[in-house]
């Protein structure tokens, strides 16, 4: 089985889209003065890399990594092992999502506290504050 030009193009386009989104979100983190927008950009960056990991594990003409026949026959296991997508990136992404969520939660609470104490979330103005 081989892939057509259109399939190859769409897969390549997905890869470049992921890279472009990563670039845009990095730009957002660095240049946006608002802490809220920095956090939003960071969330998009994290999700983009999660999609990239899933994309790396994806195989054309494959099935989800869930075994449907539990009779334990060697033929069915071999077919499953050669036809399913790579489950490792999916498991790693699951871990990355939870850790990303934990980091985001922490940042959101810090930003909330920052707003309560300084009355602004503009990083330029926060930098000028003393004491």
């Amino acid at each position: 089985m081989s892939t057509s030009f259109l399939e190859n193009f769409l897969i390549t386009l997905t890869l470049y889209n992921i890279l472009a989104t990563a670039g845009i979100s990095l730009y957002g983190i660095v240049t946006r003065p608002s802490v809220t927008k920095k956090i939003i950009s960071l969330t998009i960056l994290g999700d983009t890399f999660n999609v990239l990991a899933i994309f790396i594990g994806f195989r054309v003409f494959s099935v989800p990594p869930v075994l449907l026949d539990l009779d334990g026959s060697v033929e069915k296991l071999t077919t499953f092992a050669t036809s399913a997508v790579d489950p490792l990136p999916q498991a790693l992404v699951l871990t990355a999502i939870v850790i990303g969520l934990a980091v985001n939660l922490f940042l959101i609470f810090l930003a909330l506290q920052m707003y309560r104490l300084y009355g602004t979330l503009d990083s330029r103005r926060i930098r000028e504050l003393r004491g």
Binding site: F5, I24, V66, L67, L94, L105, F106
Partner: protein, 267 residues
């Protein structure tokens, strides 16, 4: 206008570069075969013939998450735990006792929510209990149950937590119970083997080459995949009440928190 021009140029550049790359075949042929490591995981996720290697779960992702790479998930749970501890530390001293009763949304929304909440809980428990058989697991189920706390806070106001008897310390206690259950499953092989004078590994699921300890894979012919169901249920408890804590803190009225921030500044 400039914003749209930049956006259009990014989209166009991405499409053109992708087309040229495909036309030239610059990325090489697509990998149609599954990787060796993936084959190893897939072949051993449910393989009764190799009990010392398998996780006895048809769901390969859960097998990796809680068995093949279980220590990873344990650290992940610790990171999530630390984030909630950090949130609690920032809100130290804030009490739910002086939260006033809010009117909430309209009666229609309240009735619909009342009907939805039991369905939501049932779905969450099902995702956790079937995590070793179908896509899902403890974390996904916990996230599904967390929706209940958001619904309660938005539709009935934050005071509904007080009415239901869910306060911060109870949520922290239930979350700690989930984490303790995870620790219990992690240390059970070691403790039982030590009592019987044999050896075992942390988080051991089934027999290994040099250890005879094994969790039951079936209960009355129903597949429970050894430790996986227990880890999923414990993680479900820990994550759902972790989220409860977060949403309870975030749904506090700004005046209550500001009053406390003022008191903190005085010290």
């Amino acid at each position: 206008m400039r914003k749209y021009l930049v956006l259009a140029s990014i989209v166009l550049t991405t499409a053109v570069v992708a087309y040229v790359t495909t036309y030239l075949g610059a990325l090489g042929p697509l990998g149609l075969d599954t990787r060796y490591l993936a084959k190893l995981f897939l072949a051993n996720t449910y393989n009764p013939a190799h009990r010392e290697l398998t996780a006895m779960s048809p769901e390969a992702v859960t097998s990796i998450v809680w068995d093949f790479r279980g220590i990873d998930t344990l650290y992940e749970t610790v990171v999530f735990y630390m984030a909630i501890i950090a949130a609690l530390a920032i809100y130290r001293g804030v009490s739910y006792s002086n939260v006033r009763r809010g009117s909430g949304l309209s009666l229609i929304v309240k009735v619909v929510t009342k009907l939805l909440i039991p369905i939501n809980i049932a779905v969450a428990v099902s995702i956790a209990a079937h995590g070793h058989l179908t896509p899902g697991g403890g974390f996904q189920a916990g996230a599904a149950l967390a929706v209940v706390s958001v619904l309660l806070a938005v539709v009935y106001s934050a005071h509904s937590f007080v009415e239901l008897g869910v306060n911060l310390s109870r949520a922290v206690a239930l979350r700690s119970a989930g984490l303790l259950a995870i620790a219990l499953v992690v240390f059970t092989p070691i403790v039982i083997s030590a009592l019987t004078g044999t050896q075992a590994y942390l988080m051991q699921n089934y027999v290994k080459v040099d250890s005879a300890f094994s969790f039951p894979a079936h209960v009355q012919s129903q597949l429970i995949s050894g430790t996986l169901i227990w880890f999923n249920l414990a993680e479900f408890l820990a994550v759902s009440f972790g989220f409860f804590i977060i949403f309870m803190l975030l749904s506090l009225r700004e005046e209550v928190v500001r009053e406390w921030v003022g008191k903190e500044d005085e010290h």
